[in-house]
Point group: C2
Chain length 303, copies 2
């Protein structure tokens, strides 16, 4: 396992972590100042500053992306809505290309309207079918422009509103269906190649899963290519007071971060460890400088 | 599928649903008045009135149990704590016998101390091993006195504090390990027999699971005996504002109640449908009469 204790070479910052404090251009400057080598920005943060401006700033500072957040939200109330979702995902892919992202992260969506408390329908299997079709359609374009798609399984507590893909096993089943191993591609080269469709593993969403170790191993030892495209860290607090925005700083909760990272690395993952903390009542209220410094310190100590 | 629309013959009341309004003796009277034929009481509610008194009242009113809540919480900080948990589970079994319960529901526990925000350790696989051993030990006594144990898989959002068994598949794997099919026992008699170790399926905890239909079928078509010992209903609200006490009344959320009940019945389940609603800001604040009347009306209409 790589030694993270001496520096923060493999730390990436998901920029939602300080979204309440700073605009994205300031975030990039603050990362550059601290030697943070990569970020994963959100589309609305990019749009607020301007895509070309952010692309230029990234080149100037030498900061890379560990992912781009996010595509997805495929299910919709009607065909027009589903078509608009596909167009929007295409735009997200184009932005990801402009920013030279290694993958577009997909939060796939679920019951249309549920996010605003007015679900258009309640058939989650229908939502799953629409996600299947949406990813299949998006994958065609993603392949043309060579932008890998990373499905992020979301915690089951977000199954109604945000994502109907809720376990790593379920995500990998979908990957195998839509991006099957080609005959003759052997495991020998698995860790050399990225793939068209893989997963973004966020420990917040999957830490509880009794099949986590088994499925991480499956993702890495895929006969086609390594499906592990991104790795996100934070922590699960006890108690957790909110279903979305009460994530903990690494070390403040119960997730066995080193154990899970060891599973990732045994499965061939060699990418960034991306810190993503949504924290309405704690970290979003602190000075951004303190948040970044704490991320770096904890990343060295507990990740 | 049984027709629930004409009466509430198969409605059971989990007495936590009106725990804030009434003591258990009053709850039993209110159920008897409405022709509710079964309840599932909690140990603290029984203790507050007195075990023998409740047993007598149940006989007098002719009200049955659909389950007894609850045993479990096996993991502990040390050996003494684990031993105390075993003794407490034995007492729970004795109470369940006194009340003529068909099963003791197990909320198995997880990281010791996490419920009070001070986890003694964070190794969830260790908690799972302690749960395995705790159920194995408890099962010996349960078999002696003929009291089936029903493992309740809890929603992954409660994995740290309340239960480290979080999917039906995981629960059934444990059942198969601790209560394996005996040679020669065929599927032909599966639906005739109950079993020593099975599951309590609460839709609140499992509705999101992409493997739910498959695993319900597995539970019913077990080569030994039907593992489906209890079925709990309520609803999942969008948004959900609390990780424990924001359950919805059937029909107010996004769970496909009729679809899941159809799976249960196809798998051979013929028992009660038990209403269990923890609702800090809504149903616990309404008059108990209104809550029970609403449960009955919704049970006929949407369950």
């Amino acid at each position: 396992m790589r030694d993270f204790s001496q520096d923060h070479h493999w730390l990436s910052l998901n920029t939602a972590t300080v979204r309440k404090q700073w605009s994205l251009d300031r975030i990039i400057d603050e990362c550059a100042r601290r030697g943070i080598r990569a970020i994963s920005p959100w589309r609305d943060q990019v749009a607020a500053v301007g895509l070309e401006s952010i692309a230029r700033q990234l080149r100037d500072t030498g900061i890379a992306l560990s992912g781009y957040c996010r595509g997805g939200f495929f299910p919709a109330a009607d065909a027009a809505g589903r078509q608009e979702a596909l167009l929007d995902n295409r735009r997200a892919i184009d932005e990801a290309k402009t920013l030279n992202a290694p993958c577009l992260v997909l939060v796939v969506g679920s019951l249309p309207g549920a996010l605003s408390g007015q679900p258009h329908y309640t058939d989650i299997s229908r939502a799953r079918a629409e996600v299947h079709d949406g990813i299949a359609a998006t994958l065609e374009y993603a392949r043309q422009v060579n932008m890998p798609l990373a499905i992020e399984p979301l915690h089951p507590m977000q199954a109604a509103e945000r994502a109907c893909i809720n376990t790593l096993e379920q995500a990998l089943d979908l990957c195998d269906e839509l991006d099957p191993p080609a005959p003759g591609e052997g495991a020998a080269t698995a860790h050399e190649q990225s793939c068209d469709l893989g997963v973004a593993l966020d420990i917040y969403h999957v830490w509880w899963d009794p099949k986590l170790a088994q499925q991480i191993s499956r993702a890495g030892n895929n006969p086609k290519k390594n499906r592990l495209l991104a790795y996100h860290v934070c922590d699960w607090l006890t108690p957790t007071r909110d279903l979305l925005n009460d994530r903990g700083m690494m070390g403040d909760g119960v997730v066995e971060l080193k154990k899970i990272r060891a599973w990732m690395e045994q499965a061939g993952y060699r990418g960034y460890s991306e810190v993503e903390i949504f924290s309405e009542t704690n970290w979003w209220r602190r000075p951004g400088e303190e948040v970044l410094d704490t991320c770096i310190e904890r990343h060295c100590r507990v990740v």
